[in-house]
Subunit: 452 residues, 2 copies
């Protein structure tokens, strides 16, 4: 065995620039995150819950490139998501004909692209799921991140609100899994067909509706006068603005008759959806709220958003029906509904409620040779335990027992496996259970593997 | 229940451009991949094996932004990876002071950055793992992809080759898990200290070595005269070129004495490493080969690469020791060793060997209401089965039994749960086991949940 350099005992915090190279900024780029082990464990915990609900509801995972053609995302309805597109020229290095590309701001347009390409010819419905990183570019970022991960579920090919009911049930299943109840989180539900009927009644042509929905979505954040001004700029007639604002104040599905005929498809969709929600056992999570519009131009029917009942946070998740997105990409339309669920607000909410788990590092065994001459035996013991399916941290340098005990604690190890010269002379290995403090001797690596 | 539009039965393949919008290219951007469900299942299978070995060897998962400061990757040693950097200006939109950024070409510089930032003050060694997408930009791409995923394991803070032995054991553990044996895959091992000693003996200063290693790495792909010319252009004296080329031909660790003194650290490292490999039980996978250099400038010691013994494919994986990367980022150096393992070559290799698994869609139950009036009961049954932990595909539209049976087959369902009017009138639900074809009746949703 070679002599070992024990080296520094921890990573030096000092930043020592050298002459050869400009000093590198050690922070991740502005608005982005690193995931050191503890953050990555939390992310894995969250994503495991996303995956479990995905599987529980029979959705299939898919994925798309984080970099897409810019044209996929450009829409002319004044959406914030399009204004903040993280786009650039892929061809700046000089090869002609390169396309303008963008780091995707959301997953739905990519889903639509995949439905029309790889999805072509598949039997419907498609129930597809994805978890992917999404990007936005803001000139001034004060604490707002430029990237987040989003979990999406989408149902393609189901025209009825049975699709939305399934999506809402999946959201509630997620909330329940992470320990949230209907007193913590609610889901506001409405339909754009309601505002659509009001606008149509006021003579506003359908092509103008998406930009109006995007403007109305800001009603939450802007003073009412600003929204009125914005709608005026979109040439919405004053009578239609009045009707819109009156409709947005409705908080009770029974009051819909004030603005809709009793046989309207919008009212029928809502009634059926709330009946289905009762069958799923999720009625106490849902509320009708005509003020929910969502800020994406492509929604055409039911829209919904999850919210924190304490009122402290932005929307937890949001989604709806988008029956005309495929044709905007040049394909034949299919009925679609889906939701996006970000990784940021939910973690804030769970932290507020004390529901984030305590996720330490975990291994089954720490294996240590008390003398370097026993290193080959330690390697063999580690290899045998790993082959058995155990997670093993092998101490790779000569270390004192005090360090090894501390290290085993840091690793969250269940057992300590020690190769000591005297015991090994008898062919024995010491195994210490770190919770019970019990010690036992086993004969050889075979004896070790027969434990438990 | 509302009347249902049965709609088209599959996604239309036809591409129907509309007048309003330019036609979107439905392919993913050049050199990138979509992952429809079957491809995503294969990726998940591969990544699960990466994760299992990561856990088995006691490594902790971390992650970094896919977008990094360009400066993190720029090195002046003629590496292909730097020439093909997928970089651009983050500030093209006009805000001043933006940094030049790049889609990361590899994970190791980000690891080094994280070690110096979030890693500061942590006890050593760090054993960190990551699976991340890496990018390159080539002007002409003929079948070569611009992105791939890479699994990395890195040990930070261990100066001895015990770190490399652990990394090699992890590689072999992966190969064994996916069904490959030492007759399929080998790992070539050498050390840059060997070429370093030869160059030093010929009077070439250490600062010139990294660029020479990068040039030597091309020896595999270029005619020997081209390599000699490249080394000449780097001002390597002819005697040193001769000594280098002679050394590269050595295929037997016993022949090292021809170029190294017997007490050289390079030879000692190799002897210890091969002894440790024997202790781990992986000796038959490893071969000494002085011609292994690897194309990254930062390696300083042991280097290795996994290869397909049939000789048909590029390197399966590669890694080595890089003890001076941290100081190049302005930090204090620590001994480091690691490897990168791509998702492309291994899949080609496994496909060649017939070792790719047959991964169909899988759900536990398909739940179907034979009449729309029973939809609430079907929703309740699905909800109850899901709450029990089962994966449930609920049929969301009125469908004929023939379609439902076909659909259950496509979903890989284990059971079919049917709500039929006559049976439900008696409070009963029919459950059909789809492998045994056995049918049984249960009483209500409670009876359903008590099955098994």
């Amino acid at each position: 065995m070679p002599p070992h350099t024990q080296g520094r005992r921890s990573v030096a915090a000092a930043h020592q620039p050298t002459a050869q190279k400009e000093v590198i900024d050690l922070r991740p780029p502005r608005g982005t995150r690193d995931f050191p082990p503890e953050d990555k464990r939390l992310q894995a915990w969250l994503f495991d819950h996303f995956a479990a609900v995905t599987q529980s509801f029979g959705f299939e995972m898919v994925d798309y490139p984080v970099l897409e053609s810019e044209a996929l995302f450009i829409r002319k309805a004044g959406e914030e998501i399009v204004d903040q597109l993280y786009n650039f020229e892929a061809c700046y290095k000089g090869d002609k004909g390169g396309r303008r590309v963008a780091l995707r701001p959301e997953l739905t347009p990519s889903l639509a692209r995949l439905v029309l390409s790889a999805g072509a010819g598949r039997p419907l419905p498609l129930k597809w799921a994805a978890v992917g990183q999404c990007w936005r570019y803001e000139r001034s970022t004060r604490g707002r991140r430029r990237e987040h991960y989003q979990w999406n579920l989408d149902v393609v090919g189901v025209a009825g609100v049975e699709a939305e009911a399934e999506l809402l049930a999946a959201l509630v299943a997620f909330f329940r899994r992470v320990g949230l109840g209907p007193a913590d989180v609610g889901i506001r539900v409405s339909t754009r067909a309601l505002l659509g009927a009001v606008l149509e009644g006021a003579g506003v042509p359908a092509a103008a509706h998406p930009a109006i929905y995007v403007a109305v979505d800001r009603a939450d954040k802007l003073p009412i006068a600003a929204v009125e001004a914005e709608l005026g700029a979109l040439r919405v007639p004053p009578a239609a603005i009045d009707a819109l604002l009156r409709t947005l104040r409705i908080r009770d599905v029974g009051a819909l008759s004030e603005v809709l005929p009793p046989d309207s498809p919008a009212a029928r969709d809502l009634v059926v959806l709330f009946d289905l929600a009762a069958a799923y056992g999720i009625a106490d999570w849902l509320h009708f709220d005509a003020g929910v519009v969502r800020g994406l131009a492509y929604y055409t029917g039911i829209v919904f958003e999850g919210f924190d009942r304490a009122g402290a946070l932005r929307a937890v998740c949001g989604g709806g029906r988008y029956d005309r997105l495929l044709s905007s990409l040049g394909g034949a339309d299919l009925p679609c509904a889906g939701f996006g669920f970000g990784d940021a607000v939910i973690v804030e909410l769970l932290r507020d409620r004390g529901l984030l788990p305590d996720l330490g590092r975990r291994v089954d065994d720490v294996v240590h040779a008390l003398e370097e001459s026993l290193r080959p035996q330690a390697c063999a013991a580690a290899a045998a335990l790993r082959a058995k399916g155990r997670s093993v941290e092998l101490v790779l340098e000569p270390k004192r027992m005090k360090w090894v005990l501390k290290h085993a604690e840091r690793c969250g190890a269940a057992r300590l496996v020690l190769l000591a010269p005297e015991e090994w002379a008898r062919g024995e290995i010491k195994v210490k259970d770190l919770s019970s403090r019990e010690e036992r001797m086993v004969v050889g690596v075979e004896g070790l593997c027969q434990l438990e």
